[in-house]
């Protein structure tokens, strides 16, 4: 197996060498976790490739990437929240609500696609802003605050759409956001490119900006962060809002892929996204995590789903296996943490 990108730690080097690439892990522990997750991804991929020749074909790999887009986008945003030690359960139904909003704006109100898309993403940010307010200002536990928002969003999606799907049949440009392609004939969908760009933006935000630094700091020791003179409330609101913006983007991506906004969907996506984050080595207790890990985690989930499908394993069993993968990933993480604690 290859061991790419991972440089051994250089304890003797004092200074001068910045962290490697954007989104690069900051610590040895994070590196290990990513190596582990990455190795896991390779192993699973190799496993399916051996069992089925179709699996590693260009078409199917594109397929896998394409099916990672929605979960991946949600997972990117929620990585920030989880690093602060919080959780966001509202991203699944929030995404459905955003999809409906997009339908209302573009189909029902006839707004131009770019304007509709922008407003939808901002609407997602609004959902996150409310979450952030509830958590940071009202002091509600994130689990409860976002659980409530999950229900609110689910209900609103049905109310706004009159419980009927909204079809984007008259807005071909909208659908191209997902399934169109910039490179004619390649069959490589725009959605994957958008996920890639979103991941790079998230990676830069997390590892290169004060926002990311304070997310780690809050998750590591919230009280100490506040005592260091950092406005923890403000940053929490910003971080939940950021997760909301990604929710809005996911709403666009899923409705563009389906060609319609389905108000009754969304539930369950939040758990898949959280699973991706956790498999990628982000600690649910906060303070540790990375965007690279989240992307790998999301890929592991879609590789599993895709591979099991190709092997004609029923949907029900796919969930059983995914559940076991989460257990193994988190146990490996904990075991190492216990091992490294002196």
């Amino acid at each position: 197996m290859t061991s790419p990108t991972v440089t051994p730690p250089t304890p003797e080097k004092q200074d001068g060498r910045g962290a490697a690439a954007a989104g690069a892990p900051r610590t040895l522990r994070d590196r290990l976790q990513q190596l582990l997750a990455f190795a896991g991804l390779i192993v699973i991929f190799a496993f399916f490739s051996i069992l089925s020749p179709v699996f590693s074909s260009y078409g199917n790999v594109t397929n896998i990437l394409f099916s990672t887009v929605v979960i991946g986008t949600l997972a990117l945003g929620t990585t920030f929240v989880i690093i602060t030690g919080g959780i966001d359960l509202s991203i699944g139904t929030g995404m459905a609500l955003c999809a409906v909003m997009s339908g209302v704006l573009i189909v029902n109100s006839g707004l131009p696609v770019p304007v509709g898309v922008l407003l939808t993403i901002l609407f997602g940010g609004l959902i996150g802003l409310v979450n952030g307010f509830n958590v940071a200002v009202l002091g509600l536990p994130p689990f409860i605050a976002t659980l409530a928002m999950m229900l609110v969003a689910q209900g609103l999606a049905l109310v706004v759409s009159n419980s009927a799907p909204i079809y984007f049949t008259d807005s071909p440009g909208y659908i191209d956001i997902s399934i169109g392609t910039l490179i004619p004939g390649s069959g490589f969908p725009n959605a994957v490119v958008i996920l890639l760009i979103a991941a790079v933006v998230a990676g830069v935000l997390l590892s290169r900006t004060v926002l990311g630094r304070y997310a780690f700091s809050i998750g590591s020791n919230e009280e100490a962060t506040a005592l260091s003179g950092i406005d923890v409330r403000r940053w929490k609101i910003i971080i939940y809002t950021l997760a909301g913006l990604f929710t809005g983007l996911a709403g666009i991506m899923i409705s563009a892929r389906l060609g319609s906004a389905q108000p009754a969907t969304g539930m369950g996506y939040e758990l898949q996204a959280i699973a991706a984050v956790v498999i990628g080595g982000t600690s649910l207790s906060g303070g540790r995590g990375s965007i690279v890990g989240t992307v790998i985690g999301a890929l592991i989930i879609s590789v599993l789903n895709n591979g099991l499908q190709i092997m004609s394993i029923p949907q029900e069993w796919q969930n059983v296996i995914l559940g076991c993968v989460i257990l193994v990933a988190v146990y490996a993480d904990q075991a190492r943490k216990r091992g490294s604690a002196t």
Binding site: R213, F216, S217, R288
Partner: protein
């Protein structure tokens, strides 16, 4: 105000008072810190040292009194503002972010940035390196703080404090978790920090240490200022006497010697990874064995290790001569050892449940069940009986535990263990947070239990209580037993002396290459 005289003072605290609900933590407190000095602040547990520090660092606001900085009155309104005034505090529990690096911790909130939002981590690391070099610290900017030793984490705290251009550095028991070599490095660091325009307030219990580092010693007791003494002309015995203060409490020491009785529990060489080192003692039938020591000495840890709440790394425990292995509190209870936690509210009681459920809890699995069903009537009968024998003041056994007073809650916890027929009872701070009258009742109850042949370990931070109740006193310091005193030998001074002893430790690392104190700029300090 007082012109010339205050000019010399860096910081003055005048007539400060602070109350918390039910407690007067500080009254009419005074303190003055001269330029360039290290001022030690000493007092027993609960004397008010930490409260004073919290006022100075802006975590709490004073109810009354004034603060003067450089002779000018100042108000300290919050942690940030205290920092702006140049006051930095290093708490006993560090305020660090374990997942961040040294550099990130030190300059949190003040990171070098590009465009206000993007981090310039290389500049950050360089800045940290510069600070580290200036302070001669054995740290690297990009080390993750959570992986550092306690001593190094403390250095990170100090570096952080000094990076704010602190002029007054307050250290709350900075050596509590350090070994001798690390203490030397710390003292070196403090000496280097000392300049004509800076000052250090150093809280510690360690008399030997104060001799080494402090210029003057301020003693406080029961939230009041007692005295400030020059270290050079004061014996440590004098300091202890002032600290303890109260007239010798001669009342009702246990007279009967119980050395001839059967040994119920014997502990030999008990050690844990975290703290305890070779702890040995014996507990006899009908005896109250007091455990004295300062905060963090390891008394509670002994209890926790004994009942299997924490894993032990070495040592044997014998019950009536039979070696036993106790892996968890349930096994301890089966062996008849009950532990009454110091944190009654969180660890000892089910606050939302009624008295009956609380008393029956421990014995539920054995006495009050058949085939998995609760024998409600038997349990109720027993708890009603215990309520009356222990004189628990409650309308009925159906009263919710949180509605009882502290003293009565404590009795419910005791009843819980009596319901289980425990022979060995470990009381951890049995009278903490209980008013005076209820204390007397608890004391009477302990004596009664001992009289009935129960063996009792009493851990207490209140020295008069230990002296009054114990047939023998085991004194601990830094995870070791530093002495054992009979009731006759034990008095405030002898116990305090043992409690402040730094037990000899073998195998300490050699001190770091810390430079010797060649350019000590401190000699002119206390003069002008």
């Amino acid at each position: 105000m007082t012109g010339q005289l205050t000019e010399e003072l860096l910081l003055e605290v005048r007539g400060v008072a602070k109350s918390f609900p039910g407690v007067k933590a500080l009254q009419d407190m005074h303190l003055d810190l001269r330029r360039g000095e290290v001022l030690a602040l000493v007092g027993e547990n609960g004397a008010g040292k930490s409260t004073l520090m919290k006022l100075l660092s802006g975590i709490h606001a004073a109810d009354e009194g004034e603060f003067f900085l450089d002779g000018r009155p100042v108000e300290i309104t919050g942690p940030k503002q205290a920092q702006d005034l140049g006051i930095s505090i290093i708490h006993q529990e560090f305020n660090l972010m374990p997942d961040l690096t040294v550099a990130q911790n030190v300059f949190i909130g003040r990171e070098p940035r590009a465009g206000g939002f993007f981090l310039r981590d290389r500049a950050l690391d360089a800045k940290a390196q510069e600070l580290i070099d200036r302070l001669h610290l054995p740290l690297r900017p990009r080390e993750v703080v959570g992986g550092l030793t306690v001593a190094k984490q403390q250095m990170v705290e100090i570096a952080k404090a000094l990076s704010y251009d602190a002029r007054i550095l307050i250290m709350d028991e900075p050596t509590a978790a350090l070994n001798d070599a690390e203490v030397k490095v710390l003292h070196e660091l403090i000496r280097r920090f000392r300049r004509p325009d800076t000052g250090v307030i150093y809280i510690s219990h360690r008399m030997d240490e104060l001799k080494a580092i402090a210029d003057r010693i301020t003693v406080i007791r029961d939230g009041r200022f007692i005295d400030t003494l020059d270290t050079a002309s004061t014996s440590m015995r004098e300091v202890i006497t002032r600290m303890v203060g109260r007239e010798i409490v001669g009342d009702a020491k246990p007279q009967d010697v119980r050395d001839d009785r059967e040994v119920v529990l014997s502990v030999e060489g008990l050690s844990t990874k975290a703290l305890l080192d070779d702890v040995s003692f014996e507990l006899r039938r009908g005896e109250i064995l007091g455990f004295a020591g300062l905060m963090g000495a390891g008394r509670t840890e002994v209890a926790r290790a004994l009942v299997g709440a924490d894993p032990i790394s070495a040592g044997t425990v014998r019950l009536r001569g039979e070696p036993v292995r106790i892996a968890n509190p349930a096994e301890a209870a089966r062996h008849g050892i009950g532990y009454l936690s110091e944190d009654r509210k969180h660890l000892g009681l089910l606050l939302e449940q009624d008295v009956n459920a609380n008393i029956g809890l421990s014995a539920l699995g054995q006495r009050f069940q058949s085939l998995g069903f609760v024998r409600a009537r038997a349990m109720r009968a027993r708890s009603t009986e215990l309520v009356s024998t222990l004189r628990i003041r409650t309308p009925s056994v159906d009263q919710t535990a949180k509605n009882l007073s502290g003293g009565n809650q404590q009795k419910v916890v005791i009843a819980k263990w009596l319901a289980k027929d425990c022979d060995v009872l470990i009381f951890d701070e049995p009278t903490r947070g209980i008013d005076v009258g209820a204390k007397e009742e608890i004391y009477a109850l302990l004596n009664e239990l001992a009289g009935q042949g129960k063996s009792i370990i009493m851990i207490s931070s209140e020295l008069p209580e230990v002296l009054r109740m114990s047939h023998r006193v085991v004194v601990m310091s830094e995870g070791r037993v530093t002495g054992e005193l009979s009731a006759a030998e034990a008095d405030q001074e002898s116990v305090m002396h043992l409690a402040t002893l730094r037990p000899a430790t073998e195998g300490d690392e050699l001190p770091d290459q810390a430079a010797p104190d060649e350019n000590a700029p401190s000699t002119e300090a206390g003069e002008r």
